[in-house]
């Protein structure tokens, strides 16, 4: 029972963080209608920002969240203004290539600038904190990451659904032309979506950097699940991404513990296949 509770807790902690990362991705997709393959690399950039803030100025990753969020947000806007905007006039294939090229560029740049060494933040405020509730250990950094992720996800939800600008964003997502006719500048909205998507990723990056090693490839481990979560939850659906992320976290931990660990990802893909066949628009997606 204790062990089962542990797998549930670990699954929820992982799911919350995956949720925030996937929300960033799904927002960009929903509004701009383009898949950002460099999303994992955005996360990697955020992790480097938080890492160097700690390394150079001794700033704890918890306090460098705004810095990482802003950094990745700006990276998103720059990516949009310099490459993506032009690629959107091209074919679907060129859209894919431009973000895939960005992935390769960012990864190569990180290796050139920071070398391929693994780096890690040591002695963060929560680093040694670990709660134990009835035999279930809840590591401080992961708990902070999960809580922080949920707060950030809620904030994005609030912005998108409750503010004027967020409503404009959603309007653009639903019908670009109609929104434009009502005076909403789509290009501004696209840039805004990249900015918010970047902020979500940057927040997640600063939150996980206290327990995840940083290296040029560290985006892969989160990037790939994020794509699957977005597809699982329904492209463009924030609630769907969050629900799917929790599902993925729970399945990975429960199946990973009770079934042979080498197949722990298999069950996630099995679920994915079932959803694709039975409900192609995703769990909470619109057709």
């Amino acid at each position: 029972m204790e062990v089962f509770a542990q797998t549930i807790v670990s699954g929820l902690l992982l799911g919350a963080v995956l949720g925030l990362i996937a929300v960033g991705l799904t927002l960009i997709f929903g509004v701009v209608d383009i898949v950002n393959f460099a999303h994992g690399e955005f996360l990697m950039v955020g992790m480097y920002i938080a890492f160097f803030a700690w390394r150079l100025w001794g700033v704890d990753p918890l306090f460098s969240i705004p810095l990482a969020a802003l950094g990745v947000g700006i990276l998103g806007v720059i990516s949009y203004l310099t490459f993506v905007r032009h690629a959107m006039r091209g074919t679907l294939l060129s859209q894919i290539f431009v973000t895939f090229g960005l992935l390769i560029f960012l990864r190569g740049l990180a290796q050139a600038l920071f070398s391929s060494n693994f780096r890690g933040v040591q002695g963060s405020i929560l680093g040694d904190v670990s709660l134990s509730v009835g035999g279930v250990s809840v590591p401080g950094p992961q708990l902070a990451a999960a809580v922080g992720s949920l707060i950030a996800t809620s904030a994005i939800g609030w912005f998108v659904w409750r503010t004027r600008m967020g409503k404009a964003l959603m309007a653009t997502s639903q019908d670009r032309e109609a929104a434009a006719m009502l005076g909403i500048n789509p290009h501004r909205m696209f840039a805004l979506a990249w900015f918010i998507g970047g902020i979500a990723t940057g927040v997640a990056a600063a939150l996980i950097v206290s327990y995840q090693p940083v290296h040029p490839n560290s985006g892969i481990a989160y990037g790939l699940p994020a794509f699957m979560i977005v597809a699982l939850g329904g492209f463009g659906s924030i609630g769907g991404a969050l629900a799917a992320a929790f599902l993925v976290g729970l399945i990975e931990n429960i199946a990973g513990f009770y079934l042979p660990t080498e197949y722990k990802e298999l069950w996630i893909f099995v679920l994915f296949l079932i959803v694709v066949i039975a409900r192609p628009q995703g769990l909470l997606g619109r057709r």
Binding site: V3, Q6, T7, S10, L14, L18, V35, F37, L92, L93, I96, F100, L103, I104, R107, G108, Q111, S115, S116, N117, F118, R119, G120, Q122, G123, D128, S130, S132, S137, P139, P141, Q142, Y211, Q212, P213, H215, P216, N217, S218, I220, A221, Y222, G223, L224, P225, F227, A231, E252, N253, I254, A255, G256, F257, P260, T261, E262, K264, E265
Partner: protein, 427 residues
């Protein structure tokens, strides 16, 4: 629909390292004119690029020792410039990046042999890549000398004529581990009876697990669980929770650097400090200790080399110093192993007095290097019929006070073994 297909195609690509960004490898220069070229294929980009760089530096240092006149260094080919039996021809290392991908490793091996005209190959650190790369070299009839891949299957399950391994296989290492555990139980009142195995799921980890289980059964230790894990994952909590719930006396672990880091941090978070007996790899990597800091203390690892174990050999100390001067980092086990593979290859080429692949292979087969002709704590280098160096040995190290110390054999130890290991909050 087209969108979904394209997205799936790109995602598939993301999962296969072959499509991942490739590094520009330093190409070779003009051939001939008194230069003997060997090929070196290592992971120079990707998650293990840092290790790949160090292994390649080991190979390059061996070439430097051959090419420069170092009369005071007591190693083969150090005195005089170049290879004496080939009129002082200098050696050149042509490197290539295999990106941890077995197919890419084979393709790069073929390119080096057919386009760059290398006379022999070395590499590839990853056992899974060494497997395919050496098979390609075999087909092209070119010798492949490996230093740092320890999967037993590389020599035991194949009948290759052109493959040689200077370093110990994980069978040797498994025996070393259980010799150590026997001694620990007898002489130090250790209480290790049941063991668990935690391993990465490619050639290296799978083979290490199989051979550990085999040797454990022979020696009367009970293997209570074997837990595989993937590479490039975000989370290893289920695997670590399993290890915790089993709570074996000792945990054999074969993982590369990123997962070694992840497991250590996850064990800390689960408030569980297993007695890790590591099969090198990630745990031999300085980057691991940089990333985990004090949490890495008390890790026990097998090793084919440690400066502590060869302190009585001036040449070994000198090579380690040269390595630090040239490349800024300390020489580690992996660079020492690949240094030795390359130097052995150069020795064979010199003894063959020829760059013909068959002649080099014959020279490797007949090679007899004494212990003092290497920088390793071994009994020397002599290949058996399978191409395995039968004189390679392992030692046991424990990471104490910021460095690996020799803890076994007990009579040579420079530090006292500490097991059971203390919990993470007291490191």
């Amino acid at each position: 629909m087209r969108r979904i297909v394209s997205i799936v195609a790109v995602l598939g690509c993301l999962m296969v390292p072959a499509c991942a960004p490739g590094g520009e490898e330093p190409g070779g220069t003009e051939g001939g004119g008194g230069t003997v070229k060997i090929g070196a294929v290592f992971p120079l980009t990707g998650a293990s690029a840092a290790t790949g760089k160090k292994t390649l530096e080991g190979v390059k240092l061996a070439a430097e020792i051959v090419n420069e006149n170092l009369p005071d260094t007591d190693l083969p080919l150090a005195e005089g410039e170049g290879l004496p039996n080939l009129d002082g021809a200098t050696v050149e290392v042509v490197s290539a990046d295999h990106e941890e991908d077995p197919e890419k490793g084979a393709a790069e091996t073929e390119r080096l042999i057919t386009s760059e005209n290398v006379v022999a190959m070395t590499g590839a650190y990853f056992s899974s890549v060494t497997l395919t790369a050496s098979e390609r070299a075999e087909r092209l009839g070119v010798p492949f000398v490996n230093g740092s891949s320890s999967s037993p299957g590389l020599t035991e399950e194949r009948d290759l004529d052109f493959f040689f391994r200077t370093g110990p296989s994980d069978r040797t290492f498994a025996e070393t581990f259980f010799d150590f555990l026997d001694d620990l139980n007898e002489q130090k009142a250790g209480k290790v009876n049941d063991v668990a195995i935690l391993h990465e799921n490619t050639e290296y980890g799978t083979d290490a697990a199989a051979v550990t289980e085999e040797v454990a059964n022979e020696r009367g230790y009970e293997v209570v669980a074997t837990i595989p894990h993937g590479n490039g994952v975000a989370d290893v909590t289920p695997e670590a929770s399993k290890v915790k719930s089993i709570d074996a006396d000792a945990v054999f672990q074969a993982s590369y650097t990123p997962e070694a880091i992840l497991f250590t941090k996850t064990f800390q978070q689960l408030n569980y400090a297993p007695n890790i007996l590591a099969y090198g790899a990630g745990f031999s990597d300085a980057a691991y200790f940089e990333a985990v800091g004090d949490l890495g203390n008390y890790t026990i690892s097998r090793a084919a080399w440690a400066l502590d174990a060869v302190k009585d050999r001036p040449a070994a100390v000198e090579v380690a110093n040269m390595f630090r001067d040239r490349y800024g980092d300390e020489m580690d086990e992996n660079s020492a192993r690949d240094f030795t593979a390359a130097l052995t290859l150069f020795q064979a080429i010199n003894e063959a007095g020829s760059t013909e692949p068959e002649a080099i292979r014959d020279a490797l087969e007949g090679l007899e290097a004494g212990a003092d002709e290497t920088i390793m704590p071994w009994d020397g280098i002599t290949f058996d019929d399978s191409g395995q160096n039968e004189l390679a040995r392992g030692v046991i190290l424990q990471y104490l006070d910021g460095g690996y110390k020799l803890i076994w054999p007990f009579d040579k130890a420079t530090a006292e073994v500490k097991v059971p290991v203390p919990p993470y909050d007291r490191r």
